[in-house]
């Protein structure tokens, strides 16, 4: 058994960095604090790589399967004898893989931010928040039990809130951060309820116990039925609700596009590569329960994923803000991952989808981070977010151009780039499971290629736009991460995921099915071709198309009015029809009752004080009458 206890430093180091930068950051020179944060992340990256290497290549396997290793665990809060929140480090293929993803992307983003955020006010605050985020995210993936995951889940949410609202004087950023937090918080409510139901029925939070395929937890849950579905299904659906929120799946996706108000490195780190895949990770983490005990919930996962991927891809085709296009693209790609999980089964070849999902998560992290960072470099150079104000940038930003192109090709699934492999596996998994889902995903693949190249051509080709300042290539702190990530995007496809990350830890035999691979490449090329025709040079085709499908275009452009629907629900229903009436009710009915009691008492005493008239004779009269009455009473009536 290899000693993994040093892994505690992986989450702990950024936490210490956060405390340091948070408390003393304003006293340090900004540059020093930036370097401190980046240095800390560098150490973590090294540690993660060491861990990954040790875990995958030197740890013992049992029956050819990777084991779950609890490197460290201590009780943090005891609820009952069986239920307690532990904090610890759980290593298994997916958590180790996530470690690599997070630390790599995070490290790149840190380096990038050194350049990108250079002259911003609150530089040290930015790095403090980034450290907090890294801490939470690492803690999340290393969680040994579902409650630890919930804890870090919330912390991730709040660091996302802080980072989106980094420009806190900008009202739109404040709104976006608030929205992101509240929407995900609402989803987390589902997560929490799911945890409660799950823990009530299984009496444990521990992942290893919960997800043991032969364990009692999985066996028990199916028995108890509530409203037609087993409690296990209910709890898994609720847990998935948390994942839907964090991963910006329909219908909780509305916060993600707005979250682009945050600084671009943040978008790259949190809203593309790491945090938003937490939902996928959550489902993957609980996968044995989904697969073995709650197939209905797994179906829900698949359909939510498929719908979101299509929905987001359609919207992405119409947006003009490049970060928003990327945001919708992210949603679409995460939909892919969800779908892949949803169509997977536990163990054996059934588990192809699981493997594909994790694979795609990995490659997606690379190329999406690359895309965002590239977008950041473009924005940095042009000072605009809108592709309508861009064009012909390939001449000014060569490095950005090349890396961006690589990323676009990757996401479009062109071999031999990494995206091809992972996407192909997903399509294969869908094909073997449900033909309808496959069809959707197939269409989405084409759409993806189209909107990515629409973006690419509009920015780097298209019309030659005049700029106020000649755009300049970003400094080395920004381009170096781009190049590293580009290399990652190109080559990460050769990582043998089928040997490393599978649903049951055993090796999964899979090969590229040409029957699926060739059409998928073809549709990718088709999408690129269409985009080439429409956006390579200025042309009237897009406008004509938009005019033809006027309503469809308008709906898609306005994101199918989901935002407005939410706004209606929150503003109108919550505020106007619940909250205001509650406040009114409280002031006027409840408090009014109290006040009425008081004023009735007061009125009553005002009335009866007339007895105290100061008229001596009245008093005497009452006294004498009373005396006589009493006399009558005692003499005649009270026998």
């Amino acid at each position: 058994m290899i000693n993994f206890s040093y892994t505690i430093w992986i989450p702990l180091l950024p936490f210490l960095m956060f405390i340091l930068l948070g408390l003393a950051g304003h006293k340090l020179k900004p540059k020093l604090s930036g370097l401190l944060g980046t240095g800390g992340l560098g150490i973590i990256t090294v540690l993660s790589y060491i861990t990954a290497f040790k875990y995958f290549f030197t740890s013992e396997k049992v029956d050819g399967a990777y084991q779950k290793i609890t490197a460290l665990n201590f009780t943090w809060l005891q609820f009952t004898d069986k239920l307690h929140i532990d904090l610890g480090v759980l290593l298994d293929p997916i958590s180790v893989m996530m470690l690599v993803v997070i630390s790599t992307v995070s490290f790149m983003v840190h380096i990038y931010s050194l350049g990108y955020m250079k002259d911003e006010k609150g530089f040290e605050r930015f790095f403090a928040f980034l450290s907090l985020f890294s801490f939470s995210m690492l803690g999340l993936v290393l969680a040994t039990n579902i409650f630890q995951m919930y804890i870090f889940w919330e912390l991730v949410g709040v660091s996302s809130f802080l980072l989106i609202g980094f420009y806190y004087q900008k009202p739109s950023a404040v709104r976006a951060s608030k929205k992101a937090f509240i929407v995900t918080r609402f989803a987390d409510l589902g997560f929490l309820i799911g945890i409660l139901i799950l823990s009530f029925n299984t009496k444990t939070f521990d992942f290893i116990t919960l997800t043991n395929p032969a364990g009692s937890a999985i066996a028990q849950g199916g028995g108890i039925v509530f409203l037609g579905l087993s409690v296990m299904t209910w709890s898994m659906i609720f847990v998935f609700m948390g994942g839907v929120g964090k991963s910006a799946m329909f219908p909780f996706h509305i916060w993600l596009p707005d979250a682009m108000e945050g600084p671009t490195p943040v978008s790259a780190l949190i809203h593309a590569a790491t945090m938003v895949v937490a939902g996928v990770y959550l489902v993957a983490r609980m996968f044995p329960i989904y697969a073995l005990s709650a197939p209905v919930a797994l179906n829900v996962v698949a359909w939510v994923g498929a719908f979101t991927s299509l929905f987001a891809a359609v919207i992405a085709c119409t947006q003009t803000d490049i970060k928003r296009v990327l945001a919708y693209s992210t949603m679409s790609q995460i939909g892919y991952m969800m779908l892949a999980l949803g169509v997977a089964g536990y163990g054996g070849h059934e588990g192809l989808g699981y493997m594909a999902s994790m694979f795609h998560l990995f490659t997606h992290a690379m190329f999406k981070a690359l895309l965002f960072l590239g977008a950041g470099a473009i924005i940095h150079a042009v000072h605009s977010n809108y592709m309508t104000e861009m064009g012909g940038l390939r001449k000014y930003l060569p490095v950005t151009h090349i890396t961006f192109l690589i990323a676009c090709l990757t996401i479009a699934g062109i071999p031999p780039l990494s995206g091809f492999f992972s996407k192909d596996e997903i399509l294969a998994a869908a094909f073997h499971s449900n033909k309808l889902l496959f069809a959707i995903e197939y269409a989405v693949a084409g759409l993806t290629a189209f909107y990515m190249f629409r973006l690419y051509f509009s920015i780097f080709w298209g019309k030659d736009t005049q700029y106020h300042h000649t755009p300049q290539e970003a400094p080395a702190t920004m381009t170096v991460p781009l190049i590293i990530l580009a290399v990652g995007s190109v080559f990460s496809g050769i990582i043998p995921f089928n040997k490393l990350v599978t649903s049951d830890g055993k090796i999964l035999e899979s090969e590229i099915e040409l029957m699926i691979a060739i059409p998928s490449v073809l549709i990718g090329l088709l999408g690129i071709g269409v985009a080439y025709i429409m956006y390579r040079k200025e042309s009237a085709i897009p406008d004509r198309l938009a005019a033809t499908f006027k309503y469809g275009y308008k709906w898609a452009y306005n994101k199918f009015y989901i935002d407005e629907l939410y706004l209606f629900v929150t503003k109108k229903i919550i505020f106007r029809y619940i909250s205001d009436p509650v406040a009114w009710f409280d002031r006027h009915i409840v408090d009014g009752t109290m006040n009425t009691i008081a004023s009735v008492t007061q009125n009553f005493s005002f009335r009866i004080r007339a007895f105290q008239s100061g008229q001596l004779q009245k008093y005497a009269f009452v006294f004498i009458t009373g005396a006589i009455m009493l006399a009558i009473l005692f003499i005649y009536l009270w026998k």
Partner: protein, 178 residues
Amino acid sequence: MASIMFILFSAMIIVFSILTVTSRKILRAAVYLLFVLVSTSGLYFMLNYQFLAAVQLTLYAGGIVVLIIFSILLTSHISQKFESSGWKKNIFSAIAAITGAILSIITILDYRFSATNEAAKEVNMRLIGKSLLSVDYDGYVLPFEVISVLLLAAMVAAIVVAKKGAPKTIGLPKINQE
């Protein structure tokens, strides 16, 4: 003889009592009160309490009534007529008074009084004087002393209270103008 006397006295008492409380002229009321008090002392004579009858005459008829008349002179016109008080008040008061009276009378008539057979004591001045200053079983020296202190206190109090020049008088005394 005795019953005639009794009837006479009680008729005077009742008539003049009623006149006292109903007369609309205050000085007349005072005079009627005097008659009541004098008749009462007559009753005391009938009951063989000569000393008390004398006290009644001097103290009540002589002292208190004079005091009352003086205060009337100080505060009212002699000929001032009261406006009659509200009929409601009168009727209710009368009902209360009559009910009370009837109730009491019925009770009195119902009750069988039983006298002792002990020999009556001759009440003479010597006995009264001795009793007042005696500390025996039948002695009343303590109430006697208390009453004397009370009288003194009342005298002082009357002077203090009636003394002119209390700081917060609202209206000036207008006795002289009237």
